[in-house]
């Protein structure tokens, strides 16, 4: 005879997690959902609008352009940071004092607050007093990021590469040091070239950390705000107005809370879906 009687009391043990998730995710999100389907003129009066704000955002040229700029920015920084990060990780010393110095150097940009990074590059690239801006002009290039869209983009991309490539380096370095020596030894005995070692040993073994790197860099670069706003403020004109900058302009500049809420949700869904897609495609192989 069993003395155990079934009951449902264990559900109470889940309660703390439910509360935690509710407070830090669901409730704030619900506020946004709430705004996204209503119109308000102040005085705490709300009128239900259905999907009107969503339609308006989806149809606006302004959103489409900001999204295009955002996708372009993310594509460029991923295309630069991933290969560059892996290359630096491969070139780093494997042991000794050189390794420690490299790791510290690599970790440094990651430790600087975002708005400081923006301010640093803002000054660094100034055409009249900044080291980079003045230097380029002295060399004969006409470079003024406050007036030339291309110069603004170059500065923005350079700043992000400087800020975040070391994350890829550190991830790739961790992945490389996890490869057992026997693989390299076997490859030496098999007469493999450096390229063959990279192609058939290092790259396959780095697959998982690179997947993480792509995901993190995709999400972060797609959400970039602080550094960009401090650097260019979205200008010149709208040249560097990325999604998040545009969103803040709509929400806090124009105080259009409904469209801003709808845009936030669309923004969120784009990131969620793309990340899921990346992950599914890149891990599909292993399930077979």
């Amino acid at each position: 005879m069993s003395s155990k009687t079934p009951n449902q009391k264990a559900w109470w043990l889940v309660l703390p997690v439910v509360l935690l998730v509710a407070f830090n995710a669901v409730i704030p999100l619900m506020a946004v959902v709430n705004y996204s389907v209503q119109e308000t003129f102040g005085n705490n009066e709300f009128f239900f609008e259905g999907v009107r704000w969503f339609q308006q955002v989806m149809q606006s040229a302004r959103f489409r352009e900001a999204l295009q700029r955002q996708i372009l920015f993310t594509a460029i920084v991923l295309a630069i940071q991933l290969p560059l990060g892996v290359a630096i990780a491969l070139a780093m010393p494997r042991r000794g004092i050189g390794l420690s110095i490299c790791l510290v150097l690599m970790a440094m940009p990651l430790l600087i607050p975002y708005n400081v990074v923006g301010a640093m590059w803002n000054i660094f690239a100034l055409p009249d007093i900044g080291l980079m801006g003045k230097g380029l002009n002295e060399l004969g290039f006409s470079f003024n990021y406050t007036r030339q869209p291309v110069a603004a983009w170059i500065t923005l991309v350079a700043m992000d590469v400087w800020h975040w490539t070391s994350l890829v380096v550190l991830l790739a370095y961790a992945g490389l040091s996890a490869i057992p020596d026997a693989y390299y030894q076997a490859a030496r005995i098999d007469g493999a070239s450096k390229w063959a070692i990279f192609r058939h040993i290092q790259l396959p073994k780095l697959k998982h950390v690179l997947l993480i790197a792509v995901l993190l860099r995709f999400m972060d670069s797609f959400m970039i705000y602080t550094e960009a706003v401090v650097l260019t403020g979205g200008g010149p004109g709208n040249a560097t107005t990325l999604l998040s900058i545009d969103l803040v302009k709509i929400a806090l500049g124009q105080f259009d809370l409904g469209p801003a809420a709808a845009m936030s949700l669309i923004y969120f869904l784009i990131i969620l879906l793309s990340s899921w897609l990346f992950y599914t495609v890149m891990t599909r192989d292993e399930e077979h």
Binding site: P180, A182, Y183, Q185, A186, R188, I189, D190, G191, A192, S193, A196, H200, I201, P204, K205
Partner: protein, 358 residues
């Protein structure tokens, strides 16, 4: 195909090893010669330098001192890829993203062999290793023994390979497959007659695989011989103790005025050799449990315990503080408490400071 010749080979992992400090050296002054086509085993406990020796032969390490020669060619300074050596590691190494076929073809393609020749060679070797059916499969999907066969195959596939080195290749293989893979190795050796050098700390693996076993201890070769020689005439107490199950009994003994070794007052070893030279050193008597018998007269002992190990019983007998083990065949009686032991004089050895003198 080549004879492997090691001359005064020493290796240290320290940047500045001190010649007189033994602890600085992983390998000290090794001289060995291996005939072409033989099956050899390097046997020794963990940390004795056997893997170091293997890596020196394959070129993964450069020796601090000494020379490695294949036939008359000095290969000491050559890269592993140029040495005509294959090596199978403790943990199976396969190129995950490649098929089994591409894995086996990898060393050939790296050396620029024409594709039709690669194909013919890979198919031949795959058949030999029973991998023919899985050639198109991804190598990463194979079991550990399958992967280990691929590692071996990447060595066999090269027709220029002079020797195949194995570094404890059965460590991660399931016990019931170990035996099969070991038989396969033996069979392959008979078939291809390449020199095979097999590193292990497992005496069963070494003694069943090899024609010649090199026993290493603390960076040095203590004995090199056939399995029978190692069993019957251990050159060093370490060999006697390390090989055999249970190992050799080692009993402190005295050399008497006539130069005869005595244990507990009994003259035991064969007196064919004058032992006066051993006087003053630490002398020990070595006798395997197989060669100790109960007798009417002899060394008086107390019987402590008899443990059944199948076809034999291992009997622990005690003379004073000294434990002596002996093997008693199934069905033979073991005295209850008091007994006398006799040693087989022809097979009792005398060691002075660890090394055999008789």
């Amino acid at each position: 195909m080549a004879r492997i010749h090691l001359e005064q080979l020493s290796h240290s992992y320290r940047p500045q090893p001190r010649a007189e400090v033994e602890a600085d050296w992983a390998l000290r002054g090794l001289d060995l010669q291996w005939a072409d086509g033989g099956a050899y085993a390097l046997l020794g406990p963990s940390g004795c330098g056997k893997s170091t020796l293997l890596n020196l032969i394959s070129g993964l390490l450069q020796p601090t001192q000494g020379r490695v020669r294949f036939d008359e060619r000095d290969v000491t300074a050559l890269e592993p890829g140029q040495r005509n050596i294959a090596q199978v590691f403790q943990f199976p190494v396969v190129y995950d993203t490649m098929s089994v076929f591409d894995n086996l073809a990898f060393p050939l393609r790296n050396r620029g062999m024409a594709e039709p020749d690669v194909k013919a060679r890979v198919i031949e070797i795959a058949e030999m290793l029973d991998l023919g059916a899985s050639l198109a499969n991804r190598a990463s999907g194979l079991t550990a023994d399958g992967k280990q066969k691929i590692s071996l195959g990447r060595g066999l596939v090269r027709s220029d390979v002079a020797a195949i080195l194995f570094d404890e290749p059965l460590t991660v293989i399931d016990p019931h497959l170990k035996w099969r893979l070991r038989s396969k190795l033996k069979e392959l050796h008979q078939r291809v007659r390449r020199t095979m050098i097999y590193v292990t700390h497992d005496q069963t693996e070494a003694l069943t695989f090899a024609e010649q076993v090199v026993v290493m201890f603390d960076g040095q070769v203590v004995q090199s011989g056939t399995p029978v020689e190692l069993f019957e005439r251990p050159a060093h107490t370490f060999v006697g103790h390390f090989i055999g199950s249970p190992g050799m009994n080692l009993l402190p003994c005295e050399i008497d005025a006539a130069g005869v070794a005595r244990f507990a007052g009994h003259a035991v070893a064969n007196a064919s050799r004058d032992l006066n030279a051993a006087r003053g050193k630490k002398t020990e008597l070595g006798v395997r449990p197989e060669f100790v018998h109960f007798a009417g007269v002899g060394i008086p002992v107390q019987i402590e315990r008899a443990s059944d190990v199948g076809r034999f019983r291992i009997v622990d007998a005690r003379h004073g503080a000294q434990l002596i083990k002996l093997l008693v065949a199934e069905g033979e009686p073991v005295p209850e408490r008091q007994a006398h032991l006799a040693f087989d004089a022809q097979r009792t050895r005398v060691y002075a400071d660890g090394w055999a003198v008789a």
